[in-house]
Amino acid sequence: MNSQENITIFINGTKYQTQNGQSIMQAADHLGYSIPRLCYHPQLSVEGACRICIVEIEGMKEFQASCSYPIQDGMRIHTNTTELRQARRDILELILDNHPLDCHTCPKNGNCELQRLANILGIEERHFEGERKQYPIDDSSPAIIRNPNNCILCGRCVRVCSETQQIHAIGYAHRGFKTVVMPSYNQAFDKSVCINCGQCINICPTAAFTEKKQTDEVIRILNNKDNITIAQIAPSVRIAIGESFGIESGHNFQQELTAALKALGFDYVFDTQFGADMTIMEEAAELAERYFKGENLPLITSCCPSWVKTAEQFHPDLLPHLSSCRSPMAMLASLTKGYLAKKNHWDLTKVVNIAITPCTAKKFESSREELFLEKDIRCIDYALTTREISWIIKSSGIDLSRMKGQDFDNPMGISSGAASIVGTSGGVIEATLRTFCEKYLDSALPPLQYHESRTTKGIKEATIVINDKKINIAVANGLKSTHSLMDEIRRQKKHYDFVEIMACPGGCIGGGGQPYAASLNFFDQEKILQKRSQALYAIDSSINIHKSHENPAVQQLYKEFLGTPLSELANKLLHTQYSQKIPCGIIPKEVIYDINHSK
């Protein structure tokens, strides 16, 4: 039967026409029936492990898992019978029996899907007491904490790590009740191939994976008035933080957030977008240098710390292609400590840089020695996720939406529109090309017309033609197709000049530190990413300056301090080099097979 064809199904006695080829759960979701679920996630393959989503199909003896059972013409489905309600409750109770009874002290309290499900399914008393898991908590990673005691083995983290990211840092080990999700050889997380993207945190229904919190340390630092505390806010934080306060995604809280940070005691609140403008200036100059010499192309962006670690572990031979530019966060932090602090004669040991980011890997990035100002002096002292800063704000009794807005501090608070879109996939490349085309090709960047790559699925490509010059670009978000793209570059199958990679779905807007999804309806998730992205483009259009090289604060900084992009001083403060890292990553054979058999 053709999958495009419409067929008739009955849900709870009502007749519906719907497209064939869907699972019962998908069809029901579209028709407004939200079947409870736990191990299912629309971005991932179907596991069918938890059995929460069972439904009754007339004529069948057993209940079926609706996530994996396809609809058929004339199928009569029941989603809410008394027997089903009881069966789902029993299944969930059995899961809960091995789960710690510590909701009130759990980091996921209030955001836990298991907790929500217990409420929705009406678990009001516990009939059984099961054996509890007692494993050590792994907090070796600078970004991610793994607590197997909270794990219910739904496998979403394993799937997101292997399918969406193709990193395979974690897998199931042992069997039966003793099954644990862990890195190979049960080694510490910081010794594994984990790239700190934090997608496992976002997707975990419980608190088996959480970010390494730095909230208490930051609050202590803010309360010590000897410190000079400097905050910086990443583009993707301002348009997503509202979600933590129950406000629809896509609203720009830039000014309210600045005011809230001042109220928390920060001495300066700067804009990571200023750092982004600096990155764009340096990266455009780097692109020009390589493009006109025809050397070391494509230039591959390196703003994303998860992607950088991926390249170091999986594609070390391509490291020379990576841009030497530090990320916007790192550039701004280098400038506050390496320039502003000196200019104002601040004691460097008292200056504390705290970055507010949508990203868990920024915690790892800030600990990288390559980015230290000098020995033992880190440029970025703390990196807080959107979730962490939301909690600090809430727990300090501040109502974000009612704050009277404030502007960023100067001089590192002025930014161009180009800098705001670096938070979304395709943004870094577009922003850089705006400056590159105008400064080095004397022409405005024509509108980018992307199409999906014919050779590598999931990669967007475009070709920009200016006079006799052609620039081939490629953009990827989520690391899924990156191994194939890197292989094409390695084998020079296709010529690219400039490639942008962001590890998280949608770019930084979908980062591992963003607010947890507020509902169990996953069809909302794509929409949330769209809204966040649109909000960043809306900021771009609302700012009069659209190009980084037109930002007066950037021009002033070059005039007064740095000279020109890629100058000796700029190289010292704003650039870095990366090197091969152990353990080296292993690209699965299926992926290599796909690479060899594409075309």
Partner: protein, 165 residues
């Protein structure tokens, strides 16, 4: 670690085994056979060997580790010269396999999965050795000993201790 033992004859024979079977079967189903072969050659599966297999077969380490820990058959720690697998299948169980197991534990002073200090014996449980007619049975390095009682179990141990002197 791998680089230092790269030229080891054992690794070469394992590599040859992988290469000779590469085209025969799906990669992930070949993994179990390769792990078996590795255990046959090296005696157990240390992380360096699993790393080597992962690299040679392009299978992520976490997956190799998952398979190696799933099956009781695979040893993750060095084992003794003699591996005593006590059959705990239905027939042996009914014929008193638990007593036999207890006898071995007491005599060797180790628990299931452990190895004696002199590295002579490792004690494991087996599901069914397919020797139900000889229940209760144990297998020691592939040799089956059937219709055991505690005394016979002690004698077998003695025999092996004497043999290795």
């Amino acid at each position: 670690m791998i680089s230092t033992i790269q030229n080891d004859a054992k690794l070469n024979s394992l590599r040859a085994y992988i290469n000779s079977h590469k085209e025969m079967t799906r990669n992930d189903s070949l993994l179990i056979r390769v792990l078996q072969k590795a255990q046959e050659i090296i005696g157990y599966l240390p992380p360096e060997i699993m790393n080597f297999i992962a690299q040679e077969m392009s299978i992520p380490r976490a997956q190799v580790w998952g398979v190696a820990t799933f099956y009781h058959y695979f040893f993750l720690k060095p084992v003794g010269k003699y591996i005593i697998s006590v059959c705990m299948g239905t027939a042996c169980y009914l014929k008193g396999a638990e007593k036999i197991l207890k006898a071995f534990k007491e005599k060797l002073n180790i628990n299931i999965g452990e190895t004696t200090d002199d590295k002579l014996f490792t004690l494991i449980e087996a599901r069914c050795l397919g020797a139900c007619g000889l229940a209760p049975a144990v297998s020691i390095n592939g040799t089956i000993y059937g219709q055991l009682d505690e005394k016979k179990a002690y004698n077998i141990i003695k025999k092996y201790i004497n043999q290795s002197k």
